[in-house]
Symmetry: C2
Amino acid sequence: MSPVESTPRSDAPGTQFLAEIHEQPDALLRLLAHEKTIARAAQLAVERDVRLIRLVGHGSSDNAASFGVYAFGLLPRWTAMRDAITLTVHYDTPLDMTGSAVIGLSQSGRTPDVVEYVARARAAGALTIAVTNDPVSELAAAAETAIPLAAEPELAVAATKTYVNTLAVLALLAGHLAGRGPEVSNGIRRAAEQLAEVLPSLERAAAGMALPFAYTGRMFVIGRGVEFATAREIALKLLETCRIAAEPLTATDLAHGPVAALDPLFPVWAIASPDATLAPVQEAAARARAMGATLVASGTAAAELEGASYALPVPAPSPQLLSPLLSVVPGQLFAWALARARGLDADAPHGLAKVTLAR
Amino acid sequence: MSPVESTPRSDAPGTQFLAEIHEQPDALLRLLAHEKTIARAAQLAVERDVRLIRLVGHGSSDNAASFGVYAFGLLPRWTAMRDAITLTVHYDTPLDMTGSAVIGLSQSGRTPDVVEYVARARAAGALTIAVTNDPVSELAAAAETAIPLAAEPELAVAATKTYVNTLAVLALLAGHLAGRGPEVSNGIRRAAEQLAEVLPSLERAAAGMALPFAYTGRMFVIGRGVEFATAREIALKLLETCRIAAEPLTATDLAHGPVAALDPLFPVWAIASPDATLAPVQEAAARARAMGATLVASGTAAAELEGASYALPVPAPSPQLLSPLLSVVPGQLFAWALARARGLDADAPHGLAKVTLAR
């Protein structure tokens, strides 16, 4: 490997992926210019007496939905769920959508069953909100109101800035529902600054970790609460760019079976936050270490995990709910560096297209 | 390997696991003796004007909850969700539980955060229903009403008969809510007979497949709709008894990234049902084949998947919603046979205890 370069070369595989990772602070700031649109969507949800939020998306969008469950639960204390798209779209089941707000998540705005779900939910009386990077997409047209991701075009197949901006949209929606919009938008602005500051050193640290993992075929990625979304998204990056069979697990689910698969050659990436989920994540990390597993400690409370062979900590934002905006980035950078070490092109993984039209 | 024996030897590793797989038809019939208790719980949910079902559990219980989402959606057309336990138990978030029924799922009835969630939900006004194999457990005591799994003691660490009986409880609850209780209970009785008939030949077929997978370290297991629960449960069996990094994916989510990890040495187990999800599962299987992946076709519509190197079909029950009661069994038997081929003890995987007290 050549020494790590922080300026991407335009000819190298993974250049676009790395460039978009670095664009994330700017993308977050661009999104904040649309805060009024988000506040209006929140107002609409209050006026319609919404009692249940149904989040729908696939891939990175569905991972962001895992964060949404906590954002809506922790800020306005509303119940949110990742809904079963198949039930509505494929099984054609008419559910009572009164009192529901549907948030359709799709970077491209073209994911067929998400568009179809939103159209059906709207016809059944739900408030429908599209969150997409393409404000003139089918999804934006199908929904009653649309929130732009404002991430500018994302060209690498693996999502980065659109994922982080989707988290930010959900946090802002939840914040405005709770009357805490300014606190959340200020937190996002500060998180963007924190991210810009640490990106160069994080890139170096992640690149330095790539070589020992060059022959790793499997990994668990562990998070809980707000960081379960991060575990899912990092696992997906490793799957799609590095061909690692990386499986996301909650700290507790690790103990309910999967821990038996671990050994020293089966690494575990754990994401720790300094909140009520820290103790379960520490226990899960200790359980993995007891099986001999090689541990990577990440997240804002990475230092609280004992026995880690590698650490990729990130600074803590405020409110702490925003930590997934930062904690996913070491995973993105590690995926970029590992793909490079393996001779894979993170910009265009074999077998994938940027817009997924699979049913 | 010695020739396959259908009578387990008491001294061999995996004997208990195999014996409990074979007990499943009887366990299903035993459960049917408790149909009145289940019908009463359904009646209670109607009387309380329940609008949302919140399912909580870990491991196999959480996998069964994935089935519950479809059972309640397809039969009474009620919205059901796998709720975020962490939000309530760890983050201490008081959610509005009015109009909610909570179904707490735990074989042992001792999973700490499930017990805690149910206690809090009950205090917050939810109708609480425990589904457990131990009718005098903490979970049964914490809930307003309890439904026994009636599976008799399960001694192997990896769940089998308690998983299938949990599916049956959820199907019966959904059936009674929809006024279709007798249809579902007759279907379960017939499914138990179908299962008893095919178990010997399924065991031979699964055992014959073990050797080629003896060195496989990773696998995707694909299902959609009612069979996503089956994909999750088979992946968990392979993780805990065979140490395979097996990841469950919906047919659609495969296309949203993970397909890029596939190659001829990365097998895919696909579960097909003859319903509206067949076409997406066929497309996912074709996508996996296009990447060269070795395909195992399973489920009641296994014959509809082209290009499979191995097939483990099961008979179709009626109503078709019950197919997961049968389609999980080839995965259980394959896990047993593969563990044996690898010299692992499926009865007591290293690092696991039967009752998981992890937070």
